[in-house]
């Protein structure tokens, strides 16, 4: 491939690609994202290749190995076009039938179709699956059509057209105005207006500027950045090139977590191909604009997602945050003006340029525009990545898209915003999700983690979980954060172990105020949030732990035990067979009994009993 050297070159090349791609052609889209990969995509792909050549279909059907489609829990996912037939959880042994029935004869195989857990109906098309049909996927929508290792796939869906538009018909100032008008705000946590950040960086003093992508994805439970980089790396790169043009930068970095090997690989391929096509590097598309991108792999420290720590880590140093009175847009990497944006923020940029700022601003709410990708996980039926317009109510996300809570359990809370966020109880299920409304109830948007919890989650244990997480991740340079979080962790451990004292809640609240006020970086400043929101909404659960020494959810081992209800137990023996400690005894068809000395409270029997006969005491 010779380099594309002008707008015309690009357009001719794209149009040729489009012409070659008949929308009526047979196409199998097989997801090989990290989720589906863990469920066995590779074996399915091998079987598919074998069957295709066995049936003499080579050249007649195209097999596209793509990134994440979003519905990872149902992986490996296969969609067969032009009919859009959706097969979840495909196994290698299903493949011969899929090839002979669905690909050759275009018949649907009923037993392989998705069964909606709510309506119990079989659904044949991807777009009719409730998990998908209420989403609005402007950033994620193309993942199913793109082989991330093939730049042509991205160009065939008008990829890099936004870049062409920017380079040949917009000044940097016009790009900045468009982003400002669109209302785009950072998707990495703070929600800072992206256009204003770019403008400040452009105006900052300095000869060299840097454009950077934060792919450290620290929020445990959120994985949209990973899926975007793995599945559609060019959308992120295109956003970065446009941003670099706007701020006047010729050098960019992507800081990726070390735990994301596939993202590093696909991004690396993407950069190489974009360079070969003349879309990255010197004199991009003959416009005279130069921009190169390097990948930097992080070392696995949560705090390195913070902007100043990230810059230090890029410089090869220990990632300790520095004071923010000097902003990184003025003095960031190597003390030069630097613009750091999140992966999803960058991926929104080409969409805005293509469809217009006004269109973008028409989506969402008054002050939160566009869509947001949420990682809907935990105790919810349909788990995966969900992209909806800002302002969509929690209930729509959890119940209509997520299918509600499995196993007839009760919803308890949803945690948003990661370790800096909070827990939102049932009373607020109708809350429209945007930056402001989440803040009103004591949580934050964060990067879009949405962890659903049911009656079996203990809120004190959850608070302890986050505090312990942050205790381990604090860089330790300021006392309030290092010592304050450690104290909180000890108090919470006492409460969970049955040593809680009167006054502990008050002490936690006082510590929270101190930590929030006197910590240097965002980690410390937000660390108490999960504790504060659980105290605010689930105070009675704390009190039960402290006063009655009981854990109603059956999580804190010192504060509960399992018992078998004589009335409800029918002696089916299932629990006794499954107990790893052989702690359960009883005669067949008669009520069983747990030997408390042997029981290790693993909960296997509790989950196994089909008659709800095992009770938490």
């Amino acid at each position: 491939m010779s380099k594309l050297q002008s707008q015309k070159d690009y357009e001719n090349f794209r149009d040729r690609l489009k012409k070659k791609r008949d929308p009526e052609r047979l196409l199998v889209s097989l997801c090989a994202g990290s989720g589906c990969g863990a469920s066995g995509t590779e074996e399915v792909r091998e079987a598919l290749e074998q069957e295709v050549s066995k049936n003499g279909l080579k050249g007649k059907v195209e097999v596209k190995v793509t990134g994440c489609h979003g519905f990872c829990e149902q992986g490996p996912i296969m969609v067969i076009y032009p009919d859009g037939i959706f097969y979840p959880k495909v196994k290698p042994e299903d493949v011969p039938e899929i090839v002979s029935e669905t690909i050759v004869s275009r018949q649907v195989i009923k037993r392989l179709l998705y069964k909606d857990p709510v309506s119990k109906k079989r659904i044949s098309k991807e777009e009719d699956v409730p998990f998908y049909n209420q989403q609005h996927r402007i950033v994620f929508g193309n993942n199913g059509f793109i082989d991330p290792a093939n730049i042509d796939d991205y160009i065939a869906v008008d990829g890099y057209f936004a870049l062409v538009k920017v380079l040949f018909s917009m000044s940097p100032e016009e790009v900045i105005s468009a982003i400002k008008e669109s209302g785009l705000r950072g998707r990495g946590g703070g929600g800072f207006p992206t256009g204003i950040k770019w403008e400040t960086c452009r105006k900052a003093h300095g000869d060299i500027r840097y454009a950077m992508c934060n792919a450290d994805e620290g929020d445990p439970g959120a994985y949209m950045d990973r899926s975007l980089l793995e599945g559609n790396p060019h959308s992120v790169l295109e956003g970065m090139i446009i941003g670099a043009y706007a701020i006047g930068s010729n050098q960019g970095f992507v800081y990726v977590r070390n735990e994301y090997p596939l993202a590093v690989k696909n991004l690396g391929i993407g950069i190489k191909q974009a360079e070969e096509y003349g879309l990255l590097g010197k004199n991009i598309l003959g416009s005279g604009f130069d921009f190169t991108v390097k990948i930097s792999r992080g070392g696995g420290a949560f705090v390195c997602g913070e902007s100043t720590a990230l810059m230090r880590s890029l410089e090869g140093k220990v990632g300790r945050p520095t004071a923010k009175y000097i902003h990184t847009v003025d003095k960031g990497y190597r003390d030069s003006p630097s613009t750091l944006n999140n992966v999803e923020t960058w991926a929104n940029v080409p969409v805005i340029i293509n469809k217009g700022a006004e269109w973008y601003a028409s989506l969402g709410t008054e002050r939160s525009k566009g869509t947001k990708v949420f990682s809907l996980v935990g105790k919810v039926r349909n788990t995966g990545l969900v992209e909806v317009p800002m302002g969509t109510p929690l209930r729509t996300i959890i119940y209509d898209i997520g299918g509600g809570i499995p196993k007839k359990k009760k919803f308890k809370a949803v945690q948003t915003g990661g370790p800096s966020g909070g827990c939102i109880p049932e009373d607020f299920l109708d809350l429209p999700v945007d930056y402001e409304r989440l803040a009103e109830v004591g949580s934050i948007m964060g990067s879009g983690g949405m962890i659903v919890m049911d009656q079996d989650t203990c809120m004190v244990d959850l608070a302890r979980y986050f505090v312990d997480f942050l205790k381990n991740e604090s860089c330790g340079q300021c006392t309030p954060c290092r010592e304050g979080i450690t104290q909180m962790s000890e108090i919470l451990a006492d409460i969970c172990e049955g040593n809680g004292k009167e006054g502990d809640i008050k002490l936690l609240e006082e510590l929270a105020v101190m930590i929030k006020r006197f910590s240097l970086c965002g980690l410390g400043k937000t660390a108490p949030n999960p504790v504060l929101t659980t105290i605010l909404y689930f105070r009675d659960e704390y009190e039960t732990h402290i006063k009655d020494k009981k854990c109603p959810a059956g999580v804190c081992k010192a504060l509960f035990h399992y018992e078998i209800d004589e009335e409800l137990c029918n002696g089916c023996r299932l629990c006794a067979l499954k107990c790893p400690q052989k702690a359960i005894t009883g005669e067949k068809k008669k009520s069983h009994h747990i030997d408390q000395d042997k029981c290790i409270k693993c909960g296997i029997c509790y989950n196994a009993c089909k008659f709800d006969a095992i009770i938490i005491h």
């Binding site: 990290s34 829990e73 994985y223 090997p261 140093k317 990682s375 996980v377 788990t383 909960g603």
Partner: protein, 167 residues
């Protein structure tokens, strides 16, 4: 950082200087790329051998204290040898609420080591991670780079058995 249970049976292999030269070359001998240099060393040896670090000190002309501070700050690095199979149990929030703690306990019990330790035969190291990015499949573990999702106690133990059988 990980520790080995019992007396480690490590053979001190000589350091492959050709490999190190290549790593340094690829990272342009730039101290700014220190973290990636350490990652590449770790990829080969599973840990950061002292001799390799000495070599980096010499070639990059940086103090050992700098390397040491990076090596102890970042989770990805270990200064002691790790097992052939590094098991990472995800303790991220999504996995936590679906019972990751119990998976960790059962693996600790089975391998008779604690989090951060390596078995005596240097076969397994048990580590935890704050999220692997497969949250929809929680609880998740990885063994080296392969991920296993949708686990419960029994399934997790089966995964380990599979590796126990391998040499």
């Amino acid at each position: 950082m990980t520790t080995i249970k019992g007396e480690p049976q490590v053979k001190q292999e000589p350091i492959d200087t050709a490999y190190l030269d290549n790593v340094l070359e690829q990272n342009m001998q730039d101290p700014e790329n220190l973290i990636m240099i350490l990652q590449d060393i770790s990829a080969k040896y599973n840990y950061l051998p002292r001799e390799a670090l000495n070599y980096v000190v010499e070639r990059l002309n940086v103090p050992m204290s700098l390397i040491y501070s990076a090596a102890t700050f970042y989770k990805a690095f270990s200064l002691t040898p790790r097992g052939k199979y590094i098991i990472n149990v995800c303790l991220g929030t999504a996995c936590h609420v679906r019972g990751a703690g119990k998976i960790k306990e059962s693996l600790e019990e089975r391998l008779n080591i604690h989090e951060g330790e390596t078995t005596e035969d240097l076969k397994f190291t048990l580590e935890t991670v704050r999220c692997l990015g497969c949250c929809a499949l929680g609880p998740v573990i990885t063994v080296n780079e392969k991920a296993y999702g949708g686990l419960d106690r029994g399934k997790a133990l089966k995964v380990i058995e599979q590796y126990e059988r391998e040499a």
